[in-house]
């Protein structure tokens, strides 16, 4: 049997040093494109199970570290805040419009539609203003990714952290909490 006929062979050759060439250019992160061109093209998606595995590890790590539910929520929220600020920068950069949001409704809208779509693949179900308080707003998300495999809702504090990170980085101070609403709806 001829071994070379089954699979295409590839010859690996040592690099040529015949001529004076410049040293090989090191590929750094600054060389790779950041993606964008309007943000219409969806980026590479991460599987839900991979995310759920990683996220469950994160929650367990913080659960072991913290002594109470409040502690756990606080830790998850802090993790989310870092993610929120960077996601805001990335999504705004990819839009290529070089514009910032200076009005509260605009940033909330941007959050619940564009950033939500970037993070979770779909926009938030609704954005509402509370009747009781003037400065209270609610973003509804029926199927929150972070609690899709977990019964306890407090793990959604991560998403609260993301929202708080986005708002704080834009210059709007915010306090964000996660609640669950019965009849199938969740509040993030």
């Amino acid at each position: 049997m001829n071994p070379s006929s089954q699979y295409p062979t590839r010859r690996i050759e040592p690099p040529h040093h015949n001529h004076q060439s410049s040293p090989p250019r090191v590929q750094s992160i600054y060389d790779r494109p950041l993606g964008g061109n309007g943000g219409t093209r969806p980026g590479p998606a991460v599987s839900l199970s991979a995310f759920a595995l990683l996220y469950s590890e994160l929650v367990q790590y913080h659960q072991n570290k913290s002594s109470s539910m409040n502690d756990l929520e606080g830790n998850l929220e802090r993790c989310g805040m870092e993610v929120g600020t960077k996601v805001l920068e990335l999504v705004s950069f990819r839009e290529r419009s070089y514009k910032r949001e200076t009005r509260l409704m605009n940033i909330l809208h941007h959050l619940s539609i564009t950033i939500w779509r970037y993070l979770f693949g779909r926009s938030a179900d609704s954005l509402e203003r509370s009747m009781d308080n003037d400065d209270e707003y609610m973003i509804y998300d029926d199927r929150a990714v972070t609690s899709s495999f977990c019964n306890v809702r407090s793990v959604d504090a991560f998403v609260s952290g993301i929202i708080a990170g986005v708002l704080n980085a834009s210059g709007f101070g915010a306090r964000v909490t996660a609640h669950s609403v019965s009849a199938g709806g969740d509040e993030g």
Partner: protein, 166 residues
């Protein structure tokens, strides 16, 4: 001061201390290019240059930090009315102008320059640095709002400055 002497100071500011700072000097001859980068240490090195050959550069160095701090107030005021990222020239003091750029995450890029500069080249420089900054901040180990110490970032920013300003 010769008319060909151009001095640029570029600073990235978050909510606290500067995250990054660099200086590009264009001397009388086109070959002479010096620059120093650092974050906090530049204050001390800047004032020492007062006795150097180009005496005007020493005065401008320490002066430029004052100008920068003053212009931060102007940037804050303008940033709430101007919805774009490029804030153009926010402050003029004596011979120096300050141009500013604010990212979506409220990180401000400030450029102090003396002499006239095309707004387009400044805007393109800011766009370049914005891309570099976003790429740098994608590092999960980089905490938002802390100093930028990457040497590659530094050399890219300076290369971009040379491309647009020299």
């Amino acid at each position: 001061m010769s008319s060909t002497y151009q001095n640029f100071r570029f600073v990235i500011v978050g909510s606290g201390d500067p995250l990054y700072s660099t200086e590009i000097n264009r001397g009388l001859s086109s070959n002479q290019q010096s620059g120093s980068s650092g974050i906090q240490g530049e204050n001390s090195s800047g004032t020492k240059e007062g006795t150097g050959g180009s005496g005007s550069s020493g005065g401008e160095n320490s002066q430029s930090w004052f100008v920068l701090h003053c212009s931060l107030d102007m940037v804050d005021n303008i940033s709430w009315t101007n919805g774009g990222m490029f804030l153009k020239t926010v402050d003029k003091m004596m011979s120096q102008q300050v141009s500013a750029f604010q990212t979506a995450g409220s990180i401000k890029f400030l450029l102090i320059h003396s002499g006239q500069r095309q707004e387009d080249s400044i805007k393109n420089f800011f766009h370049d640095v914005y891309e570099l900054y976003v790429k740098h901040s994608m590092n999960p180990l980089y905490k938002y709002g802390t100093a930028i110490t990457s040497k590659t970032f530094d050399s890219r920013v300076r290369a971009s400055a040379r491309k647009y300003f020299l």
